[in-house]
């Protein structure tokens, strides 16, 4: 006798859980990337910008 209820629960929560966990990780990477780029010092521009001399 296969316990279908438990099996389906393991599949639904497990497989979607893997996707949700990794999707949260994707969002975390994107947010970290944005935050880090905000704090990065802007590189001095070679063309245009402020030229003194």
């Amino acid at each position: 006798m296969i316990p279908w209820g438990q099996a389906v629960r393991i599949f639904v929560f497990g497989f979607s859980g893997v996707f949700i966990t990794l999707a949260i990780l994707v969002l975390t990477i994107l947010i970290l990337g944005k935050v880090i780029s905000l704090f990065k010092k802007p590189k001095p521009s070679v063309q245009g910008g402020d030229h003194h001399g």
Binding site: I2, P3, Q6, A7, R9, I10, F11, F13, G14, F15, G17, V18, F19, I20, T21, L22, A23, I24, L25, V26, T28, I29, L30, L32, G33, I36
Partner: protein, 373 residues
């Protein structure tokens, strides 16, 4: 004198040899052949093959209580020391750069767990119980340490079959995957070139293991021993301040643990535990799991291409099965057959590493829901 010689003869292994031992020797020799002649995962198949051979030498008692291999097995696998240590070494060897540069490839690692659940249902239909089905399904992740970790918790009596199936299929990635990859993709798709990945800063690489540990261990606590070790190894590497520890984790520790892992896994394959229909079913289901995991990664990559402006080469989806870096090399090779100028290796490393994380997460959910966690 004759009586003494007779008694001595009975104490030698010759008198206890049976056909089942000879069959297991042949299996052991096949592993050794594949390792030496074909170079298939030699670091593992060689010690596994030799251990299969010696554990099936009668009267040696190597796997009986107090026997040498039994001690390795007990403290290494039953105490779950070896799988987390392997993950420590893997973390120290892994560059998460390709994954951080193209994070959507993490989803391919999730899709490649498809086969895990197909085999899970297949095992249930054949008559295995739920914990056993979980242990068999996880073979589809193509991740040996995670398979061992899950099986020790849920179905220790299947450890030999699941571990050997996982490592066998990992070594056979170049044989199993290409036909599936070619069947499910057109030549045009295989020719898709992908933009060069952006450089990833050291700060991002340092923050990633911390963030990943926090998220994964909070969502699936049973995955913590593997995930935490994976990420601490990676933090050693990326911090750049503990080069000695990184070196030790990558080399000495990894090599030592690999020897004990191979020997302990091979030691579980005694004739009595392996030559059973149950073990053969595990092998068959493992192949199903592994094949469908490849399919899952490929199909999600194709699906993503329907929505993405910058297309991804679906071949990298197949690398979503763990088997690092073998699966990435296979994606590169199959891609290069369609277009020799197409370099997919680094792009495939993203889903490949995501596959390791995905398998650990899938195992964590199994342990949470099937009573082992």
């Amino acid at each position: 004198m004759a009586e003494f010689l007779g008694t001595m003869l009975l104490k030698t292994g010759f008198m206890s040899l049976e056909l089942k031992h000879l069959i297991m020797w042949l299996i052991g020799f096949l592993f050794i052949f594949l390792a030496i002649k074909k170079n298939y995962e030699p670091l593992l198949l060689l010690p596994i093959g030799f251990a299969i051979f010696i554990v099936n030498l009668p009267l040696t008692g190597l796997m009986e209580e107090g026997g040498l291999l039994r001690i390795f097995y007990h403290f290494g696998l039953e105490w779950e020391i070896i799988p987390p240590l392997i993950f420590l070494g893997l973390g120290a060897m892994t560059d998460f750069g390709p994954l951080i540069a193209n994070p959507k490839t993490l989803l391919l690692g999730a899709a490649a767990q498809f086969g895990v659940y197909i085999a899970f249902f297949g095992a249930l239909l054949i008559g295995f119980k739920i914990p056993e089905a979980c242990s068999i399904g996880i073979i589809g992740g193509a991740d040996g340490p995670t398979t061992i970790y899950t099986t020790v918790h849920l179905a220790p009596h299947l450890l030999g079959a699941t571990a050997v199936a996982a490592y066998s299929y990992m070594s056979m990635v170049p044989i199993i995957q290409p036909p599936i990859m070619k069947l499910l993709t057109s030549k045009k798709e295989r020719k898709i070139t992908m933009r060069q990945l952006r450089p990833v800063s050291q700060l991002e690489k340092i923050l990633f293991p911390l963030a990943a540990t926090l998220i994964i261990c909070l969502i699936v606590p049973p995955a913590a021993p593997l995930m935490a070790m994976f990420m601490i190894g990676n933090l050693f590497r990326e911090s750049g301040v503990v080069k000695r520890l990184t070196g030790a984790a990558q080399n000495e520790l990894m090599n030592i643990v690999t020897i004990f892992l191979g020997v302990s896994v091979g030691a579980t394959m005694s004739a009595d535990s392996f030559l059973r229909p149950e073990a053969l079913l595990v092998f068959a289901l493992g192949l199903v799991a592994f094949s469908f995991s490849t399919v899952g990664g490929l199909l999600l990559a194709k699906l993503m291409n329907l929505f993405l402006k910058e297309k991804i080469n679906p071949l990298i989806g197949a690398a979503g099965v763990s088997a690092v870096p073998m699966a990435s090399r296979v994606a590169q090779k199959v891609g290069a057959e369609a277009d020799p100028k197409n370099f997919l290796l680094m792009h495939a490393m993203g889903p490949n590493i995501a596959g390791v994380i995905g398998t650990v997460v899938a195992a964590g959910f199994f342990l949470s829901m099937a009573g082992g966690g």
